[in-house]
């Protein structure tokens, strides 16, 4: 029996030390040396150095003065009852999707409600699908270029900026498919809104 146990136990401990400690710790050190900005989470800082967020993580925008991201289904523990949860859009400490199925009436109701709000905001245009569907992580940092352009009239009204200027801004902020092939064209909402703020202060 011991003949079986010794290799099992010693090898388990040795391989645990190699793959569970040496490997991740060595990679942490190496990553910090080679890609320091990415390794710590692609943090975006304000002029005074305070963190404004991460360029990879979406944040909640509700004001008319900003471009909005996609709806987010993330939740947080209910402060009054820890066994329940409450809606907390873009909660980057607890990622997750709505998990609503395609024939769930609750999904149809939510989409219908969001579409009505958006149609009132910009009656002329078709509502882009990404503005009324929640992302898988609830932290999607991007919207489609169509979704950004859809919001231009509202932001322009609210800021008193000509729509053409905002259209140019969206065009500048639009990233194409990776290598012209993979993924979808997209606009990073946080970066677009940072550009928007610098536009106003100039």
């Amino acid at each position: 029996m011991f003949a079986h146990l010794r290799p099992a136990l010693v090898l388990l401990v040795a391989l645990t030390a190699i793959t569970g400690l040496a490997y991740p710790l060595a990679m942490t050190g190496l990553s910090a040396a080679v890609f320091p900005r990415e390794a710590e989470g692609s943090i975006v800082r304000g002029p005074d150095g305070t963190p404004l967020g991460s360029s990879l993580i979406g944040q909640s925008f509700t004001s008319d003065r900003y471009f909005h991201g996609r709806p987010s289904a993330t939740v947080a523990p209910d402060p009054s009852d820890a066994s329940k949860t409450v809606a907390a859009p873009y909660n980057a400490a607890n990622s997750g999707g709505s998990n609503l199925g395609p024939t769930n009436q609750a999904l149809a109701d939510r989409v219908k409600g969001d579409m009505a709000i958006l149609k009132a905001e910009n009656p002329g245009a078709a509502v882009p699908v990404d503005l009324v569907t929640t992302s898988a992580s609830g932290l999607d940092p991007h919207i489609s270029p169509q979704a950004a352009l859809f919001q231009v009239p509202r932001v322009a009204r609210s800021r008193g900026v000509p729509e053409e200027r905002l259209g140019d801004l969206v065009a500048q902020a639009t990233e194409g498919r990776v290598l012209g092939l993979f993924g979808e064209p997209r606009v990073n909402v946080l970066e677009l809104n940072l550009k928007l703020d610098s536009l106003s202060t100039r």
């Binding site: 989470g41 998990n99 009436q105």
Partner: protein, 571 residues
Amino acid sequence: MTLNGWMQIAVYCLVVLALVKPLGLYMTHVFTGERTWLSPVLRPVERVLYRLCGIDEKHEQHWLAYTVAMLVFHVGGFLLLYAVLRLQHMLPFNPEAQGPMAEDLAFNTSASFVTNTNWQNYGGESTLSYLSQMLGLTHQNFLSAATGIVLAIALIRGFARRSARTVGSFWVDLTRCTLYVLLPLCIPLTLFYVWQGVPQTLAASLHATTLEGAQQTIAVGPVASQLAIKMLGTNGGGFFNANSAHPFENPTALSNFVQMVTIFALGAALTNVFGRMVGDQRQGWAILAAMGVMFLAGVAVTVWSEAAGSPVLNALGLQGGNMEGKELRFGIVGSALFAVITTAASCGAVNAMHDSFTALGGMIPMINMQLGEIIVGGVGAGLYGMLVFVVVTIFVAGLMVGRTPEYLGKKIEAREVKMAMLAILCLPLMMLGGTAVAVVLPSAVASIANPGPHGFSEILYAYTSAASNNGSAFGGLSGNTVYYNLTLAAGMLVGRFFVIIPAMAIAGSLAAKKTVPASTGTFPTHGALFVGLLVGVILIVGGLTFFPSLAVGPIVEHLAGAAGQTFSSGS
């Protein structure tokens, strides 16, 4: 579907195919004990490990000793992981002060990672310390992946050897797989992921003040090192709750592409290892071809269904496909392709929420798992699962022409066929049996999130995913209850080991057989006829077993949705 969509799928298949031969050659060298270009660095480490463990690397094991060694090793790994999860609040690397994991959840999670399932009833960033992620999960990702690969190697030796008593040494195979195959690939992959934006840090969560003045707490951690092995080892357990949909766990369409490639890389290459070790690479390509046919069929259905979108939402005037539960940077094609790959292999990582897929789009992942994840499959597990089906196919072919069936010169006899059927039957038992019991228990039904047929699909998906050791989920189901934690863990353990043990018995009995020379009456197993027959047997066995359950889940939901019917809770 658009031209761009077809191009993405075509480029993906070409890259995976291009990797088959080089990786297959390298792994063959590793497992036949030949020198590789990494030997100067790794050979000394390997020797030290053998000396510490008292392993004689020349000593090979009988299939039973090999299997027992694997089981003993897993018991140790299970206890270690359980202890780390339960004691994480007393151990270092816990900047967010996570408490101990509950007993039933720790049991479920340990079973989940030891069996290469990586089902997540826990939310990574909200329950686990960094030590649990590294020492607990990352380490099990390596070992359960290595175990799958070495078991496949042992089975291959069974086919390749003649009149042999042994199938290799579990200790040597495991050590070499970890040191020579998995670790060297994970190091550049980790750096690639960090370059794309995946964090790799021991710092605590980031506290930011958003542009609108709100506070946002952003979880970070040693993500990239775990991500690399999670995909390469087809483990699939995410650092974050949202898994590879989280922008930190899959920041770009390029990182998404590399993740999809690494899910299939080793599993596809193992078919080549098989071909090389039995002395005829065409045998490996034939098996890969059968996998490829079923894979492409699944991709076509899922991508088409997701691009067409949900009829219920389209009726409201939405266009652009089903984007609920999908990330914009991957789009429909990048999400649907990932879903098929992750369930064809036994990965279970997700970059979109399968629960929100269209009815047919979500059915394909379920079918992939129900067939036993043999379409490339989990590293190693896919190949030995497929070889079990090969045994049955050869048997059926033999019955058709009235000859004793043989494969690669080995006579396939009653013992092999019985063992193959045992392995094939244990999956539906756990998948359908588990579902059948759960749907009549009110407390289990209470965990359902979506009303109507979709709720049944959630439970069916859960037991299917557990028994097939996949780990993806229709995530709406509240699986973190004592009942689900325990029954799903049972499904995972049975689904893993009750396939492994019969497969190893086949390995042992084949290794002991003599080889008969091929004659004009031998059924060639490298041609299109064999590939077609193999696919046919898989689909008939799987189709007959699972069609009734699919009919009352996704199929009826598809028909209801197409007719515009929706379902409300409480009605």
